[in-house]
């Protein structure tokens, strides 16, 4: 069965420090992986995706993520955190062997960037 795990409910980081939000997945076939961000009382905004190719993908607002097939991970990173990055982050996966477009989301990680 497809699944996504975000092991940390919350991540705290000081402004200016690098940040990492973790995601691991389980899917049969080649995974399509995504990160979304949600600001308070808003819908989800797409940040970045991995479909194929280079394992390091770059996205919006200076975020990047590294696809690691052997560890089945897709961690979100940013070299220097901003207070405005504080939000709820979701990892999602779509398995390419599925006949329908169902996406599985993690439970979310709340990122707090402290000034």
């Amino acid at each position: 069965a497809q699944s996504v795990a975000q092991p940390e409910d919350q991540v705290n980081v000081a402004e200016g420090n690098p940040l990492t939000v973790k995601c691991t997945y389980s899917v049969s076939g080649n995974p399509y992986l995504f990160w979304y961000v949600q600001y308070p009382n808003r819908g989800l905004q797409f940040l970045l995706k991995y479909i194929t190719g280079d394992n390091l993908v770059k996205g919006s607002y200076g975020f990047e993520a590294e696809f690691n097939k052997s560890q089945t991970s897709f961690h979100l990173k940013k070299p220097s955190a901003l207070v405005s990055d504080s939000a709820l982050y979701f990892c999602a996966v779509r398995g390419t062997t599925s006949g329908t477009y169902k996406y599985i989301f993690g439970t979310g990680t709340r990122l707090k960037v402290l000034a």
């Binding site: 409910d9 399509y32 995504f34 979304y36 009382n41 808003r42 819908g43 989800l44 905004q45 797409f46 995706k49 479909i51 979701f90 779509r94 329908t100 477009y101 169902k102 996406y103 989301f105 993690g106 439970t107 979310g108």
Partner: protein, 110 residues
């Protein structure tokens, strides 16, 4: 830019009422989705639709139904609202790979 709109941002309904949540997208996308979001549970798929009049159950369809009469519009129906359906409801449409989400409807059932 893709735009996904939802009919209400906040809604308060009474137990037993029939509730309609509407979602409209402007990008001619074939696939549309309804999720509910609850703290600690992430997003859970209620229903999705891959074409007009076509629908498929998600992981938690009980107590819900959907309607897709036009390509741009996907409606979620709570036939008889209950307090355990108090939640944030998110609609999404699917581009080539990524989903585009509406702003959400926070539904409270009292």
């Amino acid at each position: 830019d893709v735009k996904v709109t939802q009919s209400s941002r906040y809604l308060v309904k009474r137990t037993g009422e029939k509730v309609f949540l509407e979602c409209v997208q402007d990008m001619d996308h074939e696939n549309m989705f309804w999720y509910r979001q609850d703290p600690g549970l992430g997003l859970r798929l209620i229903y999705f639709s891959y074409d007009v009049k076509m629908k498929e159950k998600g992981d938690i369809p009980e107590g819900y139904s959907v309607s897709r009469e036009k390509k741009e519009r996907f409606s979620l129906i709570l036939e008889s609202a209950s307090t355990n359906q108090t939640s944030m409801y998110l609609c999404a449409s699917l581009g080539i790979y990524e989903q585009y989400f509406g702003p959400g409807t926070r539904l409270t059932v009292t």
